[in-house]
């Protein structure tokens, strides 16, 4: 479950850039960077709120500087997309004979001009690792 949500450090930065979509999770005010303990009570409230009011606007509980919503990776990608920032995660197959492996890298493009805004020549073992680095970079573009 841990890998479904962007880590605390990035979630806090997303909050700072204006992210406030309806989320399944919430990092509590006691969370420190790297701490992935999010409040389960918040799950219940967010879901219940969603059921009765799709335009969830209650954000007052997150006024604490250290508290923030915990977006899913997919929500973060969609949010950047809405800002005309496209995050591409590309898979690469390697070692075809006797044990194929898939590694990942990322690119960030402007949605309308298709200008490449950032890239990275590193390869990552998992999609989540590549996404985490890409999101960190994309945050600097807003």
């Amino acid at each position: 479950m841990k890998n479904l949500f962007v880590p605390y450090e990035l979630a806090l930065q997303l909050k700072g850039k204006g992210f406030k979509e309806n989320c399944l999770g919430f990092y509590s005010s006691s969370a420190n960077a790297g701490d992935n303990n999010f409040s389960q009570h918040w799950f219940a409230r967010a879901l219940d709120q969603d059921k009765h009011n799709p335009d969830w606007v209650e954000f007052s509980d997150l006024t604490n500087d250290k508290s923030c919503l915990a977006p899913l990776y997919q929500q973060a990608i969609d949010w950047f997309d809405s800002k005309n920032i496209l995050i591409f995660i590309s898979p690469y197959e390697s070692g075809i004979d006797g044990g194929s492996e898939i590694t990942f890298n990322w690119d960030i493009m402007h949605k309308e001009t298709m200008e490449q805004l950032a890239t990275d020549h590193s390869t990552y073992d998992t999609r989540t690792q590549a996404l985490t680095v890409a999101i960190k970079e994309a945050l600097t573009l807003i």
Partner: protein, 133 residues
């Protein structure tokens, strides 16, 4: 938020293929009449909760009884399960100039095989169809 979860037809296919996830936030329910016979022409309902186990309880809606049918995983959970359990990879391939997205499926069936489809639900269905049981 509902759009983050797979629709019923995918959820039931995932269940048939043995999908398991440590935590689910959504589930689908089928309506039953007073004789406990399923009412085929009534739509299923979807509920959300933080407690996976409580999602399995029967519920009442519009004076009808609904029984738990299957969990309703997040797309992200379904795609991760396909990758980790079956080595089937689904990737989004955006075409921004054409304002469309395709989905690329890669799986190993005595050699890597690639398939492109236009819809995420179709991609998951095709991926599930490659799982032999």
């Amino acid at each position: 938020m509902k759009e983050l979860f797979v629709p019923y037809e995918i959820a039931i296919l995932l269940k048939e293929k043995g999908f398991y996830n440590e935590h689910s936030w959504g589930a689908f329910y089928s309506p039953y009449n007073i004789n406990d016979v399923i009412i085929e022409n009534e739509p299923k309902i979807q509920r959300f909760s933080l407690d996976s186990e409580s999602l399995k309880n029967q519920v009442y809606h519009n004076q009808m009884k609904y029984y738990f049918d299957c969990y309703s995983p997040l797309y992200q959970q379904a795609i991760t399960w396909l990758k980790e359990r079956h080595k089937i990879y689904i990737y989004e391939v955006p075409y921004p100039y054409e304002d469309r997205t395709e989905y690329h499926i890669t799986f190993n069936d005595n050699g890597w095989t690639d398939v492109d489809v236009k819809d995420i639900n179709e991609a998951i269905k095709q991926a599930l169809s490659t799982i032999k049981q």
